[in-house]
């Protein structure tokens, strides 16, 4: 089946867009050559969150399901990676096996939770409430695992102190050495994954599947009256988007070799909503670029004051709701496109 990365469900489809994409990608690939290794590792940290944002964009922006559950799946996969990597020993490529299994666990959890919600006709704000509840239950559960009895094999969960000691992602390399995905190597791995996921999602949303998914967001009954079992499309989007949050969770745990329940709690659960709402939830490119910008801004301000950064997030959400419900980044891009069109027309008339 032929799948196109261009189509009606994505904002940038023209030659200019793909030239800009190539330029940004080239800059991203060249960045470690010029930057300080510490900054490269820091950038890898910022970039690993965008999988969660792109997943939410698919679930909420394209599928119309407001999910507060991204951190739930982030936590499941993050902890699962830790437990598996510790128990596997972390050598001979087993960390990548742990990655696959941990993301698969998120997919399975999303399949079960999504099935009961979607087949149970949980929609609108109630979808958000149920997914938020799942997140809070997981955060509460993880917080009370401080005792020594809370261990899985060799991995102790450690309650609020968090779980550590797992190996970062690594592969067997030349001369019996291992290639550890830390710093620059992790950065390149994350960039490669972003390109793969981004292009894959563009193909998906511009395919027949994407058309039906968007139709189910617009009017589920109408979509069903066209012969589609919209529940299957919604569930597939939910599982895929949630698995991407799981991928962020694995990369996060691998990056810091540490994960705590606070990465699953209420403030963490609200963050992806702010990133994606501010960026523009109905376009995957806006969600990707906007989330990265917001994350960069958030981290820059956090250095001076975490409270100020949280207040800024709240202000951004309010501003989005009141001034640009379609999202600031997407709104700005569309405004520029309109201006360019007007300019071209004026040029032709002249």
């Amino acid at each position: 089946m032929f799948l196109s990365v261009n189509g009606p469900q994505t904002a940038g489809n023209g030659r200019a867009f793909w030239l800009a994409f190539a330029a940004v990608l080239a800059a991203a690939l060249a960045y470690p050559v010029f930057a300080d290794p510490y900054d490269v590792g820091n950038f890898a940290y910022l970039l690993l969150w965008v999988f969660m944002a792109m997943g939410l964009c698919l679930i909420w922006g394209y599928g119309g399901m407001l999910s507060f559950g991204q951190t739930f799946f982030f936590g499941i996969s993050g902890y699962a990676y830790g437990v598996l990597a510790i128990n596997f020993g972390g050598a001979d490529g087993t960390t990548f096996l742990a990655l696959v299994l941990a993301v698969g666990l998120s997919a399975l959890a999303a399949l079960v939770l999504g099935y009961f919600m979607i087949w149970g006709r949980v929609t609108g704000v109630f979808f958000g409430i149920v997914t938020l509840s799942a997140t809070l239950v997981l955060a509460f559960f993880l917080g009370q695992t401080a005792g020594p009895e809370w261990r899985i094999g060799d991995a102790r969960l450690n309650g609020f102190n968090g779980m550590g000691g797992m190996e970062p992602l690594n592969l067997p390399w030349l001369d019996g050495d291992s290639l550890y995905f830390e710093g620059t190597a992790l950065y390149y791995l994350v960039v490669a994954l972003i390109v793969l996921v981004y292009l894959g999602l563009r193909m998906l949303v511009n395919s027949r599947f994407g058309n039906v998914l968007v139709a189910s967001r617009e009017d589920p009954q109408r979509a069903e009256l066209l012969g589609y079992d919209v529940r299957k499309y919604q569930l597939a989007a939910f599982v895929l988007g949630s698995s991407l949050a799981g991928l962020s969770g694995v990369l996060y745990t691998s990056w810091g070799q540490f994960i705590t329940p606070s990465s699953v709690g209420l403030p963490a659960a609200a963050m992806p909503i702010v990133w994606v709402a501010f960026s523009g939830r109905s376009d995957i490119t806006a969600a990707l670029a906007g989330s990265f910008i917001v994350l960069l801004l958030f981290q820059t301000i956090t250095v001076y004051s975490q409270q100020a950064a949280l207040i800024l997030m709240g202000a951004m959400l309010l501003a989005t709701v009141m001034l640009a419900p379609q999202g600031f980044v997407l709104g700005a891009v569309r405004g520029l496109a309109r201006a360019a069109r007007r300019g071209r027309l004026a040029g032709q008339e002249a």
Partner: protein, 241 residues
Amino acid sequence: MDGDLLRTQGLTKRFGGHTAVSGVDLAIRQGEIHCLIGPNGAGKSTLFKLIVGTHTPSAGAIFFQDQDVTGARPYQRVQRGMSIKIQAPSVFRELPVRLNLRIALQHHVPRAALAAEEDRLLELVELTADAARPAGQLSHGQQQWLEIGMALALQPRLLLLDEPTAGMSPHETHRTGELIQRLNAQGMTVLVVEHDMTFIRQIAQRVTVLHFGKLFAHGTIAEIVADPRVAEIYLGNTHAA
């Protein structure tokens, strides 16, 4: 019965203590335009919703092409050959007109043939010039036509239309009637729920009258118009006109 595309048997729908549809036996013959009429509150729309599957019957059964579809969900009925246009205009408002049609077409039309089929339908419902506009920007009548186009895109065996001319001008209503007649001439069976008697007279081959949720009368349009009982409950002065 042979020749019946759709058949209901003792179809009943109760909402609490109120019986909206009561023991209706309806038969839609292959290749006809069948109109379902009745005064306000007669149960027309409820019966329509039972047939399309958005309501579950309290009792009775529905057969489509001699298959029992009583428990089938709406999408399953559509996959078996029904195509449904509900009462209120229901298009994907944020999506371009062409994409609305594509979503309806992509079920059974190969990718390579999609654009040509979209063009054909756009021309049929006279929306070629509006193909790139969001469907929500169309006039009420245009949205009704777009929805009819989406229903036709499914290449149905039975086209079900609930008040397809609601909100249309007399001219648009007449053209809609012509379109339905044209489709019927090509072999499509059509069930229309309507209360506009001018429109009914234009298109109907057989008519079923509902009253208080029960089947009150059925026959050709000439028989129904000539029935004084029908005139009394529903037609009023329109009958004399």
